[in-house]
Structure formats: C-alpha cells, structure tokens
Symmetry: D2
Amino acid sequence: MSTTAPTPSPAPAPSPVTLALSSAPGQPEPTPALAQLYRGFEQELLVPLWTEIGDLMPPHPRSKASPHCWRWERLLALAAQAGELVPVGRGGERRAIALANPSLGGRPYATPTLWAAIQYLMPGENAPEHRHSQHAFRFVLEGEGVWTVVGGDAVRMSRGDFLPQAGWNWHAHHNAATQPMAWLDGLDIPFAVHTESQFFEFGRHQLSAAEQATPTRSRAERLWGHPGLRPVSQPEPQPASPLLAYRWADTDRALADQLALEAEGHPGTLSPGHAAVRFTNPTNGRDVLPTLRTEMHRLRAGAATRRWREVGSSVYQVFEGGGRVTVGDTAWTVARGDLVVVPSWVPFHAQADDTTGMDLFRFGDAPIYEALHLQRTAVDA
Amino acid sequence: MSTTAPTPSPAPAPSPVTLALSSAPGQPEPTPALAQLYRGFEQELLVPLWTEIGDLMPPHPRSKASPHCWRWERLLALAAQAGELVPVGRGGERRAIALANPSLGGRPYATPTLWAAIQYLMPGENAPEHRHSQHAFRFVLEGEGVWTVVGGDAVRMSRGDFLPQAGWNWHAHHNAATQPMAWLDGLDIPFAVHTESQFFEFGRHQLSAAEQATPTRSRAERLWGHPGLRPVSQPEPQPASPLLAYRWADTDRALADQLALEAEGHPGTLSPGHAAVRFTNPTNGRDVLPTLRTEMHRLRAGAATRRWREVGSSVYQVFEGGGRVTVGDTAWTVARGDLVVVPSWVPFHAQADDTTGMDLFRFGDAPIYEALHLQRTAVDA
Amino acid sequence: MSTTAPTPSPAPAPSPVTLALSSAPGQPEPTPALAQLYRGFEQELLVPLWTEIGDLMPPHPRSKASPHCWRWERLLALAAQAGELVPVGRGGERRAIALANPSLGGRPYATPTLWAAIQYLMPGENAPEHRHSQHAFRFVLEGEGVWTVVGGDAVRMSRGDFLPQAGWNWHAHHNAATQPMAWLDGLDIPFAVHTESQFFEFGRHQLSAAEQATPTRSRAERLWGHPGLRPVSQPEPQPASPLLAYRWADTDRALADQLALEAEGHPGTLSPGHAAVRFTNPTNGRDVLPTLRTEMHRLRAGAATRRWREVGSSVYQVFEGGGRVTVGDTAWTVARGDLVVVPSWVPFHAQADDTTGMDLFRFGDAPIYEALHLQRTAVDA
Amino acid sequence: MSTTAPTPSPAPAPSPVTLALSSAPGQPEPTPALAQLYRGFEQELLVPLWTEIGDLMPPHPRSKASPHCWRWERLLALAAQAGELVPVGRGGERRAIALANPSLGGRPYATPTLWAAIQYLMPGENAPEHRHSQHAFRFVLEGEGVWTVVGGDAVRMSRGDFLPQAGWNWHAHHNAATQPMAWLDGLDIPFAVHTESQFFEFGRHQLSAAEQATPTRSRAERLWGHPGLRPVSQPEPQPASPLLAYRWADTDRALADQLALEAEGHPGTLSPGHAAVRFTNPTNGRDVLPTLRTEMHRLRAGAATRRWREVGSSVYQVFEGGGRVTVGDTAWTVARGDLVVVPSWVPFHAQADDTTGMDLFRFGDAPIYEALHLQRTAVDA
C-alpha cells in the first residue's frame, strides 16, 4: 500500500484523457490559452462538459446498438457444428453462442443490456452446476429431452416452454434424449457488466441420480403452477418467480382466448389482432425476474402491431409463423426462430403473414427502467 | 427502408467479431475445424460463452474503474482558468469539468455509473435553463452567492448545502454575488449512457426577474423543510424529493447529535466515532433520488470507519478536516475538497486526523442495486 | 341548523353515560365527592379510563363472539323453505340467510367482522343487479346451474368453485337450471358496519339476454385464469382480483400436489398431512380481496392441523369428508357443509376422520390486521 | 371439552335472534308459514338478509355517532377535581377521562373507531409504565412540565407539541413541575375493541432516575428530528414513526409558511386561507401511525375550509383562536380547547373568527380506510 501526500499531484503516466480544440458552434474559441487549459485538464484527468454534452445528454436516446436480424437456420447449423467440436464442461460451463450486436464492438451483447444466446446440448451431455447473480431464462423454440435442474428440482424443457432462472440459484442441464437440443438463453449479462454487480460460483460436478430425474412436472410447478393459488406454506413475496416453468399449453391458450374475446367483441387484446401475455411472478404480480420482462405475442394472420418506441431494448424471436418486422428504418421478412433486436427508442413494428399469423417471444429490460422511474413509451401509430 | 429476404444471410461488411483459438485450460482444442467454426461465428455475429465467461461472469465484481484521488486545489485552479476562458451559454450549457477515471478510457466518468464535476460560475453569470432525465444534485464545498432556479423556485446555495435535482425538472443557475463560486455536481450520466435512457430539452434563455430572486429560503423549503410535516395540499408520494435544499445547519446538527448520543452511551452512530446521515425523500423515506444515494459522514478526531465493500460505486469529497482514505490497496492523505472514487466491490476505509476529525460527503448508486435486488455488502472489519 | 354559544353547556336530556362507584381493587375509594365527580362526568358525556380499562384493554383479545357450529342440513332445509315462501327481488335483493353468532346480540354477524350466509336460488329465478362497497365472495358446496353476472360477465358456479366479488362491482345471479341451488356467501359486512364505510346502489332490474348467457368459462377466466400469465393489455396492479372464478379442478389438483410432494419427501404442506392453498389476486400476489383471506385446506385421512390462535376471526366450512374440529374448549364432529366460527385469539384445531380425510374451506379477516400491522399468530403445538 | 354429534342440533337455550313479521314494502307477506320459518331461523341462529339490508347496507354511511362538541373549560374543571380525588397508579393506569359520544350507548368512544381523552397529571405524579397494541398519541393544548418516557427515552411535553406513541412501546409519564398538567390523548381503542386485536402488558412500577430525566430534546428527536435526514445506522422503514415529538415551533412555522406562500401567489395551502400539515413517519412518508391520521390546520382570520365529507371519523380540537364549526346540521361557536367530533360521511365546515383566525388540531382514522381501499371523499363546495 502506498501513501501519497496531498501535493504534488501524482500521475506521471500518459493521461487517457485527450481533448481537442474545436471551432464548432457552442465551443469556446480555440486559443493558446485554451489549449493550455485543456492540457491541464488532461493532466488532472478532467473532461469538460461543453465538449461532450451532445453525446452524453442527447435529446432522446440514440442507441449505440443497431437493429439486426439473426437467422435461426444459420445459428442452429453453427451450434450443431459446435456440438461436434466443443465439449461442455467445467470452465467453459455452457455451449452457448451469443448474439453480438454489429455496433457494439464485437462484444457478445445483443443490446447494451441484454444477452441472447443459442445453447446446444448433445444427447447424454451434462452442463455442470453453477450459480450467478445474473438473472436468466430459457425459451424453447423446438425440441425436447433436456431437463434444467434448479436447486435439485428437475424441470422439463419442451417446445414453447419458458423457464425463468432467478439470480443465485444453483442450476445444471442434462440431455436425457437421443437427439441434440437447442434453446434460447436470455440474461442481463451486459447490464451486470456495466453496473459491475456480478457474482459467480461453481457447483457440484455431478448431480445425484435423483436430481437427474425426468419428471413431466417439476416440484415448482406442482407448488406454484395453479392459477391464483398460493401454497400457504410459502406465503412471502419473493423478488423473482418461484414458478420454474411456464408451459406452452397455458401460453397458447391464453393467447387464443384473447383473440377469441376480441372476435366476440370484448376487450383483451393489446390492439386489434394483437394478443400478448406477460410472464409474471405469482408472488407479487410483477415481472418474472427483477431485471427482465418476458412476453409472448400473437398476431392474427394479416394483423400488425402498433408502431411504438420505448426506453430500453428488446429481443424478439419468431416462435411460429412469420411476417415482416421493422425496426427503425430496417425491415426483415422473418420466419420461425429468427431473432431481431430493437435498440432503445427505435420504433418497432411487426406485420404477420396473411396466412400463417405470427407468434413472437419477446424479452427486454423494462423492469430496470420502471424500478428507477426512467421508463417512457411513445406510440407512433 | 430496405426489406431483405430470409436467406441468404446479409452482412458482407467486415465483422466486428474477432475470435482467436486458445490453448488455455477450459478452451476447446485448437483445430482447423474449430478455426472454421470461429470464422462462421464471426460471419454471423456470434460470440461463444466459453471464450468470454471469465471476463463476463467473474466470481465477484472486478471493476474496470480504478481507485483515484483528485485534489481540490488543482480542480479549483483549473476551473478558475476556465472561468476566464470559457463562456457559459446555450449549447455548452454549463461550465462543468468532470472527473475522468484513469481506467475508463478518458471518458468523463468518475465510475462506470457516476458523473462528478466541479461547476464554476463567475459573478453575474447565468447558466441557461434546461432539463434532462438524468438525476442530479449540487453539493457546496465552499462559497455562496449562487441560486439554482428549479421550476421557477430560486434556491440559495451556501457552504455545506445539498441540493437534489430530480430528473426532468427545469433548472438554471445565476451568480448574484461579486465572487466566482464553485460546487460539486453529481449525476447518473454514465448509467444513463449505458442504459440509453437520456432525454434533454432546452428551456428559456432568460428567466424572469422574479425567478432571479435571491431568497434565503426557497418555496420548496417552506413547503417541505419541516421535520416530519407534510403539506396536506400535496400528499402523494413522489419518486424524488420535492425538498430542494438540505441546509448545512441541519446536517451539522444531526451529525453532532449522533456523536453526542454516543458519548452519552446511546445508539445512533454507525460505528464508534462514525456518525452518518442520509439525505432522503420526505414523501417516501427513501433515497433523495431514484438512482443516487447521498450521505454526510463525520468521523470524530482519530476515529475510523469500518472497512467494507459493496456492489456499486461511490465518490467521496472531504468537506472539513482531513485524514487518510484507503481504497483497495491505495491510500491518500486527504484534505478539504479532495475527491476519492471507490469502485464496485473495492474495500473502503477512512481514518480521521487526530486533531481535526473529518467530514465526508458521499454519493453513490446504491438505489439502483437495491431496486433490482442486486445489492450486497461485506464488512471486512 | 342551530348555533350554540360556548357556554353554558347544552344537554338537558338524560345522559347515556352511567357510572357506578366501586370498591374493587384499583378503583378510587367511593366517597360523596367521587360520586359528585361521576355525576359531572355523566353530565358532560365523559367516561374515565380507570373504570373501563380491563374491558377496553385486556391482556389479549377476549372475543365477544362464541365458537359455534351450524349444521348444513338444517341450514339447507330452512333455505329450501324460504325458497318456497320468500320471493327474490328488488328491496330484499337476495335470499340470503346469515349466521348469527350466539354471543353477538342476535345480529347477523358470524364474527365481529365477518358475514356468512347461505344463499338460495330457485330454478329460473333472478337476483337483481346491485353493487356495494363491501367485499364479497361465493363458495359453492354443491350443485350447479347458477351464473353470477359481474359487470356483464356471466360466471358459472359449480361445486368447489370460489368466486371473489370485489367491492363496487355490479353483479346479479340467475339460475338457469331446473333445480334450486345453494351456496355460501362471505362478506365483510360487520366490519363495514363498525367502520361505517358502506355504499350501495341498485342496478338494472333485468340484464340483457347476452348477459344471461351460460358459458363454461367467463371472460375474466379467459383473460386472467392462466398460471403466471398476465394480459399485457391490462397491466396495472389492482386492489382486488380480476379473476372471477377459481375452479375446483385447479384447487383440488394444487392440494393433491402438496400431499404428493410431502409423500415424496419434499416441502409443500403446511404441516404433516395438512395441505393448504390461498386464493390470491394475480395482479399483486396478495389476498384475493383487500379485507378477506380465503383458503382451502386438506387434511389427509387421520391427519391433524397444528393448534394455533391468531388475531382476527375465521369461518370454516367442511367441503368434503369430515372429522373433529375444536375451537377453544368446544369440539364438534363435523360433516360436509357444516360451518364453524373461530373468534379472535381462540385456538383452532382440526383432526380429519381416519378414513375420509377432510377438506375445509376457510375465510377470515387477516388482511385487515396485516395491512395495519396488528396481526399476531401463536402456534400452541 | 365437550363433543357433540352432528345431529340433533344443540341449543335448548333461548335464542338471541328475534325476527318479526312485517308488512313493509319489500318484505315477504306475513303468513303462518313464514312465521314458522322465522321460528326455525331463530332456533338455528340465523338472520335473513331481507329484513336487515337497509340497516346493514345503506346507500352511504349513516353513522350511529352524533356530531357533538365538548367544552374544554368543563373538561378541565372535572379533570382537576379528579386530580384531587382519584390517585394514579397500577390498575387504573392513567387519569384519563374519555369523550363518550351521545349516540354510542354511554361507551367511551368519541366515534365508532376513535378514543379521545383528557389526561391529567398532578405535580410529582408518575403514571406507571405499560404497553399496549393500540396506537396512541398526546397533543398538548397548554402547559408544560410532563415528560413521557418511551422505551427509556424521556420526551418533553409543551404547548403545541404532538407526541406519537406507536403500539407496543413501553411508556410512562411523570410530572416534574409544580403545576398540574393536562393534555389530549388519542387512540384507536374503539377500533381495537371492534376488531378484537388488543394486547396489553404492565411494565415496571418505577423507572430509573436516568429515565426520569427532563431533557429539552429526546434521543428520538436528536436521531430523527432533522428535516429529510435519516440516521444511516437505522435505515429500515418502520410501520410507525420513530420520531417521538413534533414540536410546536416547527408546526407553527410550516403553517405560517404556507399562508405566506399563498399571499405571495404560490401554491401551498389546501384552499384559500386554509393551511394544513400532516404529521408523518419519516421512514416511509406515510401517516405517523398505522391507524391514525393527525394534522394541524390553520385558518387565516375570516377564512373558511371547504365543506367536505369522507369515509371515517375525526376529532378536532381548537388549539388557538376560534370560530364556528359546522358538522352536518349542527354548528358551534368554538374557542380554545373545545373538541368536536365528525362522524363518517357527515359534512364538516369550519369558519375562523374574523380577528383571531383559528388553529385546529385534527385526528382521524383515514389510514385504516386507505390501507383497505375503502376511502372516499366528497367536497361539497
């Protein structure tokens, strides 16, 4: 440990601060004295607001991230190759391959706050137990045969299922089937990186045989999966959902019910032809995870969402059907499995195919902004 | 707007993703096939978890920021030079000079979430009205003569005063005295940059004469500045404090009371010889701003804080007296006005001078972590 | 309107206050002067604490209500007679017959806060639309064929179903079957009487044909009856549940799941052999109604509850099976439909029959005490 | 303990239920069969809704309580006599004399939920330590010299001071002066009686000499009495205020500030000429006690309140000045110390004297209704 006296100032090393004179409007007139002042700022590790304000404090969010679309067939093909080449085990932890937004410097960030990856597990493989403070979920586009074991409770994964994974719970995966299986992993990793709030621990290398079971329903579902019914033995509100699987049969029926209600002339849909449900924590009615909002949207054939923008970012995955998704000035024709990212304050619009309709899974970071009173939404049309 | 078909994949531009083979433990064996797979990842804008996990998901926060100390006398001298050379006005908005953490790439970030700047206003100057979604405050190390006008309410600034400035309130400053005045500005700008949640608007160029008044007490203080008393005309809880000034006389007395209680054998201090008060929002008892925690600490002569670490970062400014501050492995002898940053999960310790004691103003980002259930604290000793 | 001057004191009428001298320990010595003072108290409508404190401020709650058991077969027989003799219509509003606790002066109060009644509707009858601020629910012991229409939404009633009815919603009932039907009505009427917070309005005499529909599932269930799934179109928390029916199939399965988990060695039951679920508001995870807690309990054959007491009162109804219920010093052998009241702070214990087990519906006033930080529970064994 | 078989029905004792036939509109036609049915109801302790609904479920609250005014000079004279005749000590506990609403059967209830009493302590007297679950406060109309000792912390009582006393805190009083002293005690005793939620314990007969101290400021004030400043050592929200005295100097200044703001053209008053502050819990910004709302109102000379009604009841005491108070159809000219009760949903209006103005202390039960979503207010003019 070193102790330094109050003066003279330390720092003989080259300063990371670099300030350039500018003749732009609103900037002070470039003079030798100003140049000298800027050298002083650099030496003392100071940066003036007046050279930075446009970037730091824009009139509205101007995301560094770009709208982008990843094609599921390409992801799946690469993941399958990784299945052959890259073992799963302690250290690497997971065969997960993350979307890297083209404007975020090659980092594995779908958006500045969100991580989205395809995870791939070969028949008989085990992904070892660990836990982390980052909140996570799995969403299953297709396939079956993998169980996620959370705190010793084996949770089946099948097409359309949504599995939240609150931070700091022990978890592992095992593939009990004869086919590989892939799914979407969503986490708040980039947010945790920026806010430097990460904790991680390795768990056991091998779960017990009992934990490697393959039950149809997890214990969590048997306790918490009944609509509006709370086990009295566990009454306290919890920050994240204790319900470890939201099954497709329920989600599908909820969406179908909304569209049927609309057809009968009753409220229920978000806008005409657009049904949507949010996965919630049954102990408090809020988002399923403290940092992540997760929803399933269904567009009737030919229907469209409203066009809106909001603070914070989202990732959409086409679950079924297809159509056209527009983010800002870019549009894509999308099909099953394709993934699209929507940066902060960039308008989003989706139009379902005229014959198939479109089901869209969505996750985003809205709970962060709502908790901090920073949320804003603007519906353009 | 361009529409692309689902295949073939777009992106002929060079990929920002770069993946290198590695023989490090836990990495898959470098082979031509793996190299080819990595090229595929790069082309599709994908990054595997197994090459990144140590960096993304460390066992505990490893801040990119460094502990650092800025000397007030140097800041003040440079700010005074800027007072001569850099006009204050629309566009640059404020003569504010920000601390740039030496490990954050020259960006004006004291920590990954916090902005800290010295603001300087010459006699007779006006800083024009604007508003922004970022939450802000002023803390006055010394001097007087400036009024901050918030929504038309002129708030006096004097040594020791703390002025919160909740996001999206119109505000301006004017120096009604014959001397320059400097103070500390704290904001959540870096957090807003990372989460892309910024809104900003210009206000009027010139306030009315009535708004340029110089009252001793603001209207906000007359409404909200009475202990435990809420104006019935404004009963709803508000996300940020409607009390626009916390006066030094109150803060000083609260700290003195805690130390006196301790001397009489009663609880009150945080640890022996260490008094502390938090600035709170009287409408809900929580932190004064949704994203920022602000506190004043007092160490009796010769006393020390406990040594602790916590998720999230802080900035300390010596208000009075001096002593020795240790952050991680670095220690500084500090005096009035000096500023020290404490990165996430780096231990902090302060020891007051044996004769003067030490008063420390502190601000940090703890409300963000608490709102999202991500907070952790460890007291080392 | 009359205006009186400050003196002399008014009140020539006989005072309702009557104070007697007493030689009991702790009472002031009876003297002529004391008698004169007491006459002064009476004249001025004053009562001293010292003569009343034992009654007003006992060491723990001593309920005015008595434990009591009502037999379903007797209630049903009388209700059936009322079905022949008493028409249902505007003014009387409902053919509801309330339990009158034997110690509450003949008032229709099951306990000092709770109303419990058997309601009876003949084939083809309509109970007219009204609304009231009191919170209500229906619980169906047996039968089917009645629909409750809440805000135009027809909700089927069948054995085992629980239908909450938040205050100030329009509602009516109609019997679409060829048999009479009876069910349990629970409300917070006595609490509303004591706190003088009642509002009531008549609605339409006749619902539309569409509203008299007999759907299997209500619109409310189609929107809100999916576990953990919230319709995004209706995201705000609501003080009472928007889910208008909790179906027996769900409740039964949740209870069976808890006992099965217990049998497999996992947590879930409240105590050995005792499963319990609480009906909750899916928008906030709390009790289904702001003033009423409602639960279904299941005792495995031969199992018993713990013996406990709590602040506030409850009413239990045997839904299936039977056993022995003990309240304070009184015990009853109970069978399907029987109702038992448990006054505040009187111990409750239930023991299921060795062959049938026992399902118990319970409602109580616990949310009142929890909201006001007045709850206490003591488990005796 | 007795066990009864399910049949035959018990109850040979005379039933407390009495039902009379009626020819009133809406009642079933009186017939011998109906009479027999009603005998069956009586025997089984049942009461039909149709005979009771008008009383139980009125269109709006119709309070059993009456508006009434008690004169301070009469109360004080009787309390002084009691000071001579009635000792203070264990068993009687307090020389407190409660207002008995003329329509509540001679019970010591100012309203159906509120207790209001004058308490009187002779020089040198001690009121022994106890604690109870009922929430309480003291409000000092005049005088000084008594300290209330709460959990060992001696709290001075002087004219205009408000002292909350959250349930289950140990407390005692001692008169350290040479004059008797009287003050107003407010509690939620009637509410606790109706809801049967009372707990009470005797404490020590004699406090220590240190606890019988007479400090100007209590420890609670030194910790919590600084506007917007929370001691960091005690950060958690608490259901009731930890601040044990709200001093008149603060209250007076807050009211004067509101009227001054109004005079300068700024918002602050509740209505023209009507300033009001609410005593709040600094840890959560809500009411000072979970069941009681307490406020101080000031009417400028000649000014009047709006005329309003609300669910729940209130007690007003004139603190200074005088005027005319109207409750429903009754009006009184009131002076210092006079007490007026306002039953639920009865309109209240106050008009200050043209020369003196009027300060009114108010307490009521509004937090109960707000916590349970039962509150309503109607401003008539």
